[in-house]
């Protein structure tokens, strides 16, 4: 809900609350003023205009230099490049000092970082430096990170993360790196500042960045089956870590974004595993050698991430006492165990049973989606529920248009799934009534009602 809508809703509700005695007479105006003040958008506007202005100014400065480049001696060019960057940071410092204009100051820091990037490119031009070009973007990203650390600047950090993603994209697509591992240590270097400063927007960009990175690596794989399994395990591990984060006071602030992005990525990976062609192999890619065996590197990675998932699951169990562990969580654990078992079996079977594995992954995908709806409704998290419905629809559509199985087989699959879901729904409704009945009777015994 937007602030404006919230304010209007509040204005409508307050007379009733006063009537019921929940709010003292006269307090309604104070509440409305307080909420209205929070909605003051002038600060945001000055920041937004500042950032946009900086981007335009930065672009203008770069093209101005480019247009007049030939006429300037080298010393003047260098003076402009260094002087421009120093001036931007000096102005930023002036605006940040004593909180004079902190938002514009942050825009100044961003301008300094943009000019640092322009300086890298233009010095490369002046001195005819023509090396491995992604390195220039990496250097730019590191400069942004340094500025973010030193000046406590979230815009600079977001810029640095975006540049790091650009860098890994250039390495992955331009130089055919199957998994550009060097991105990961750089990505980790962004996290301490995010955690220390409690910068949620930067965390969102970092999470999107790591998802894009894994997608870049996936793109260049010829035989992605076992890589997708590793991806699923890695994102499942991250999701479990997100659940653990929620139980620690110092980390709980960041738990939700971590849970949501990792859940989305884990679901996407698991969804990929439901494709029978991925399990059996692509005739046009693998020819007669359908479903090549697991390479040592993917076997090792699978085992490492399995161990990590197991360790995190145990850690998560310890965070919840036995009596506190809700039913939906226990069911989730059963599903995760089933998924892990399927992944382990999938490492060692041949093409003969690949078809069965595809059926297994599909059944588990549907079960997982149902569990997600359940977990979402228990936690009151609409994101879980919406994601579940999205992946449910996506998987149904994929299977409907999948030509791997015959139409008759697909028909049986859908009918069996439908019966299971209806049966499951009735069972869940009974369970819900039983639980709510128990809660009511407990409250009655305590005299709560």
């Amino acid at each position: 809900m937007t602030r404006n809508r919230f304010w209007k809703q509040l204005k409508k509700e307050l007379p009733l609350w006063m009537e019921k005695g929940w709010v003292n007479p006269g307090a309604d105006q104070a509440i409305l003023e307080h909420v209205g003040r929070r909605g003051d958008s002038s600060k945001f506007l000055s920041f937004a205009f500042g950032i946009l202005g900086v981007l335009l100014l930065g672009s203008g400065v770069i093209t101005y230099f480019a247009a007049n480049w030939g006429a300037m001696p080298k010393i003047v060019k260098l003076g402009l490049l260094f002087g421009g960057m120093w001036l931007a940071f000096a102005i930023a410092g002036y605006l940040l000092r004593d909180d004079k204009a902190p938002h514009l100051g942050q825009a100044g820091v961003l301008l300094g970082v943009i000019l640092f990037g322009a300086d890298i490119m233009l010095i490369a031009q002046i001195y005819h430096i023509d090396s491995h070009y992604p390195n220039g973007v990496l250097l730019w990203s590191l400069g942004g990170l340094a500025a973010a650390w030193l000046l406590r600047s979230q815009p600079a950090l977001i810029g640095a993360i975006s540049l790091a993603v650009l860098w890994t994209g250039m390495e992955s697509f331009g130089f055919e790196r199957q998994m550009h591992g060097w991105f990961f240590p750089l990505w980790l270097a962004f996290l301490p500042l995010i955690w220390r400063m409690r910068w949620k927007p930067a965390l969102h960009v970092a999470m999107i960045g790591v998802l894009l990175w894994s997608f870049f690596g996936f793109e260049s794989l010829r035989n992605p089956l076992f890589a997708v399994q590793v991806y699923f395990l890695a994102y499942l591990a991250l999701f479990l870590f997100g659940l653990i984060m929620a139980t620690y006071e110092r980390l709980s602030y960041f738990a939700l974004p971590v849970q949501r992005y990792s859940l989305l990525a884990a679901l996407l990976s698991f969804y990929a595993l439901t494709f029978p062609y991925l399990q059996v192999g692509y005739p046009f890619l693998h020819g007669s050698n359908m479903r090549p065996g697991v390479a040592k590197v993917w076997l090792a990675a699978t085992l490492i991430f399995l161990a990590l998932v197991a360790a995190l699951a145990l850690w998560h169990r310890q965070c919840f006492g036995r009596q506190k562990r809700p039913l939906w969580l226990l069911w989730g654990q059963v599903l995760v165990m089933a998924g892990l078992a399927l992944i382990i079996v999938n490492l060692f079977i041949g093409v003969r049973y690949a078809n069965l594995m595809a059926i297994g992954f599909n059944l588990l995908m549907f079960a997982g989606v149902v569990w997600l709806i359940l977990a979402g409704s228990y936690l009151g998290d609409r994101f879980f529920v919406n994601s579940a419905f999205f992946f449910f629809a996506l998987t149904i559509m994929s299977r409907y248009f999948d030509t791997f199985w015959t139409l008759m087989n697909r028909s049986f699959f859908f009918m069996a799934g439908g019966v299971l879901l209806i049966g499951g729904g009735i069972f869940l409704e009974r369970q819900r009534r039983r639980f709510t009945g128990q809660i009511k009777s407990r409250r009655g015994e305590r005299g709560d009602i």
């Binding site: 030939g70 490369a124 005819h128 023509d130």
Partner: protein, 192 residues
């Protein structure tokens, strides 16, 4: 720490790598061995950075069967190309994965394999023939010139010859020292 101190440190931290870029290139130009290379200019213009000439050298395409050193390379491998002075230009005599031991009047230029060619179409026999050649880039393929002057270097008039005087330092890094047109120096690199 006060904001002024933070600003000063930020400026220093961000200036150092930029100065490092200049120092590294200048060190190669000052300490390296001068090598004259024959070129084949190919390509015109960068939208972002004004004019530049994209250069293709005679040592860019290497026939492994005619050269010494190693004979198996993959795309994006780092390589060292041994150059020796011939009559006028320096020419490739071997390609190696590691920096080789060299005799006098030889240098090893570091490059990256851009692509590996295993077959070539012969228009006379109209058949594809097996070859073992690699295309290598050395970081001296771009030369920036003032706007409007690129075309002359890029497509010299008939009979004109563009040569590049480069320097190669002891690590195999190269830098363009001067551009010569018909043996006459047209551009020369200076620090400032």
């Amino acid at each position: 720490m006060k904001i002024a101190a933070r600003i000063v440190i930020t400026c220093i931290v961000l200036t150092l790598p930029l100065v490092g870029m200049i120092v590294r290139k200048q060190w190669t130009l000052e300490t390296g061995t001068a090598v004259l290379l024959e070129t084949q200019p190919v390509d015109p213009r960068s939208l972002f950075r004004g004019d530049y000439v994209r250069l293709n050298y005679m040592i860019s395409d290497l026939d492994l069967e005619k050269l010494g050193g190693d004979d198996k390379f993959d795309r994006f491998d780092d390589v060292y190309v041994a150059l020796a002075k011939a009559e006028h230009y320096w020419e490739a005599i071997g390609v190696y994965h590691q920096q080789p031991q060299l005799a006098g009047q030889q240098v090893a230029l570091k490059g990256k394999v851009k692509y590996v060619q295993t077959s070539r179409w012969n228009p006379e026999t109209k058949k594809s023939e097996p070859v073992k050649s690699i295309h290598v880039t050395y970081g001296i393929e771009n030369y920036f010139v003032p706007e409007g002057e690129g075309r002359e270097l890029e497509r010299p008039p008939a009979g004109s010859k563009v040569e590049m005087l480069i320097t190669v330092d002891r690590f195999g890094q190269a830098g363009i020292k001067a551009v010569l047109v018909n043996g006459v120096e047209r551009y020369r690199e200076k620090l400032l």
